[in-house]
Structures are given as structure tokens and as C-alpha cells.
Point group: C2
Chain length 194, copies 2
DNA sequence: GACGCCCGTAGACGGTGTCTACCGGCTCAA
DNA sequence: TTGAGCCGGTAGACACCGTCTACGGGCGTC
């Protein structure tokens, strides 16, 4: 399959991941990746017919990384769903802050997917984790689990985005996103237990 | 001042706004705007030293438009803060859906601002409206008004973004964003009144 | 041993943003 | 009235981009 780790294809993706992490989304040009991978500018075309295809492969790597980090976090956290959701949320925001360029790329739907690649579905496993935990933490009067999970995810995502953009620090005067995160969790899951 | 409506500067911005609304953010190149405005490709440089400057001016127009639409909405809505926030939220989501390219551009911090232009601050008046309404609707046990407002705004924004991206429809199976919007409002402001 | 196929090379094309030299018409002063 | 200077737009160049295409060389296979 595509597990040929030493092949050019994998090397291009790895180079692109490295580049987007280090210099941001706008630095990820086909030619630059080819240059850093030590091949001619036309070489990527064998594996990625179009720039979008390469970017999508890179973003897919980002989703995989985020999912892995969430899973690793959850491994060390006790089974209370509320606690686990808090840890997950923290990981999500930390990922966005630490890998800003990648996070940006991951949700640039204009640059990605183009339908065929179904990149969006790459985020489904992560959402499934959220949805599962939400279903456990949900109170009887809450909205249906899928809706509640969607709203919570959107809240996390919005905080990550607007925080990175600088709007939230500016508007709220906060110096870190912790209060916002706690507020969001309490809003969707009810007041924190003692 | 820069109120010379018939000047090239204003014409360039107007052309750019039109272009981004019609064809999306990626279509907004300096040369294309110049072409459509009927001037040479170097002309914009007199007024916008860099592409980013022109994009920022266009995005600023977007924020102004959104703020105007929110204000117009609020003019016709009764004074109950909860009702007003609901209307505001609906307007926000509708704006994002109806002006997808512009909405995208408005929050592409990598394309904008570059510090000097303080584009972020253009969204402050809008946030102030949210914060004011939230302060009125806030329950005593809620988080501080600024935090609550920030979290709610982030939730709106996240819904707008992930909905447009297609993730939320895919993940939640919903066909419109109304349930998510209601869930978010109830989460942050408490259960809807009878 | 020759054929054919991968897979990468290299050049071209039209597009982009930016820089620079130019130039025409207007204002204003002598 | 005439001349100088500036203001604002033109036009060409440059490097870079993504994409397309023709080419070539090394490999395995008949």
C-alpha cells in the first residue's frame, strides 16, 4: 500500500508536514517541497496530480497527529467523562496553538478536499470520541448527544481559531484561554463538580 | 480624507468586495482587481503598497457589512436580551453562509493585518454588542460577562466555520444549523424561556 | 539482448506579487 | 504665459508559482 516509508511519496508528505509546521501554510508550495526533498519540481506530480492533493495529504497527517495526541492524553486520564472531555479540549487548544500553520491548513476547505479526497471524513474519528464522551456526560435535559457534541466541538474550535487570530485576547482582555475553555465546558456540560 | 467615493482607491476596494463575494477569496488577486477596475496592474500600488493591504481593506468592508446587518436586525427585535442575542446569532450564521468567501477572508489572519493595520480591532464593535447583550442576559452564577461573551462568540464562530466546511453536517447528520444554534444559546444562556 | 515501463528531469507557459523607470497632465509660481 | 514639479497611472522586468509535456535513463521481463 502507501506504507512505503522510504518512497518519494512519503518523503514529500513528511517534508510538507515539516514545512507547514515550521513556516506556516503559505510556505507550502509544490516547488519548495520538491526542493527540500531534493527532487525536481515536476517530481511530485507523479504522486500528487495537483497542489491540492499534496496539501490534503499533509492535512490528513495533521488530523492523524491530533487524533493520536488526543488518544495519548486520554490514556492517562481517569474514566470520568467530564474529566476526559476537559483533557481532550485542552489537547485540542494546545494543538491549535502549537501547530498553528497545520491547524490552519487542516480547516482550509478551499485548499483541500475538492470532494474526491473526502478529507473531511478524516476528522470523524476524533468527533466520534467527543460524541462518545458527551453521550456519557450528557444530562437528561440536554440536547441530543450528536447536537450537544457538535455544539461543544464548534465551541472548542471557535476558541482555538479566534484565540489564535488574536480577537479573543483583544476582546476579552484575557491572557490565556483557560477561562474561556472552562466557561465553554460548563456551558455545555453543566457546572463543574466540586 | 479617504471618503473620495469616486476615487480609484474606493473603486478598487469595491471591485475587490464584489469579486470576493462572487468568486471567493482565492480569486482576489491584485491584477484581477486592477483588470476589472480598468486600470493597469501597477495602479493599485499607489494606494495599497502590498496585496495584504488591499485584502485587509476588503475584509474591513466585510466587518462593516456584518456589523450593519446585525444592527439592522436588532432594530426590529424586541428588547429582551435573550431574544436579541438569538437574532444576532442567526444573522451571524446567515452572513457566514451567504458571504462565504468574505467570511473566510475576514478571519484569514495570515493574509491580513500584519500588525500595522489593526484589522482585528474592526471586529471589536460587534463584540461589544454581544458583550452588552450577554451582560444583560447573564445569570448570577455564570462566568464574568466578558468571558461568557467570548465563549458564546467563539461558539457561534465555530458553528459558522465548521458548518461551512461541511464537518458539522457530516458529523451530526443535521441538515441545517438551527439545532446547533439553539443548543449553543441554551448552553451559554440557560434553558430557553417557555 | 531488446522491449517496455516506471519514475524522475527539464523546459515551457501563463499566472502572480513586487519593483522600477517612465510619462502625461495638472497645479502653482515666476 | 510659460516653465517646473508633483501626482497618479502605465508598462516592462523579475522571480516565483502551478501545471503541462517531451524526454531519458534504469529496471525487470520476455
Amino acid at each position: 500500500m502507501d506504507a512505503d516509508e522510504t518512497g518519494l511519496r512519503a518523503r514529500l508528505v513528511a517534508t510538507g508536514v515539516d514545512l507547514v509546521l515550521r513556516e506556516g501554510q503559505s510556505a507550502v508550495s509544490l516547488r519548495e517541497i520538491a526542493r527540500r526533498a531534493g527532487v525536481s519540481h515536476g517530481a511530485p506530480r507523479r504522486y500528487f496530480p495537483t497542489h491540492v492533493d499534496l496539501l490534503s495529504a499533509i492535512a490528513r497527517e495533521g488530523f492523524a497527529d491530533l487524533t493520536t495526541q488526543v488518544e495519548r492524553t486520554l490514556r492517562d486520564v481517569d474514566p470520568d467523562p467530564r474529566t476526559r472531555l476537559t483533557a481532550l479540549a485542552r489537547t485540542y487548544l494546545d494543538f491549535a496553538a502549537a501547530h498553528r500553520g497545520m491547524f490552519e491548513l487542516m480547516f482550509r476547505h478551499d485548499l483541500l478536499d475538492s470532494g474526491r479526497l473526502r478529507l473531511r471524513e478524516t476528522s470523524l474519528p476524533l468527533f466520534a470520541v467527543v460524541a462518545d464522551l458527551v453521550a456519557q456526560a450528557r444530562r437528561p435535559t440536554d440536547a441530543p448527544a450528536a447536537v450537544l457534541a457538535g455544539a461543544l466541538w464548534a465551541n472548542l474550535h471557535g476558541i482555538a481559531q479566534l484565540w489564535a487570530w488574536g480577537s479573543l485576547p483583544l476582546a476579552t482582555g484575557a491572557t490565556d484561554d483557560d477561562a474561556l475553555l472552562r466557561a465553554a465546558l460548563e456551558a455545555h456540560l453543566g457546572p463543574a463538580p466540586a
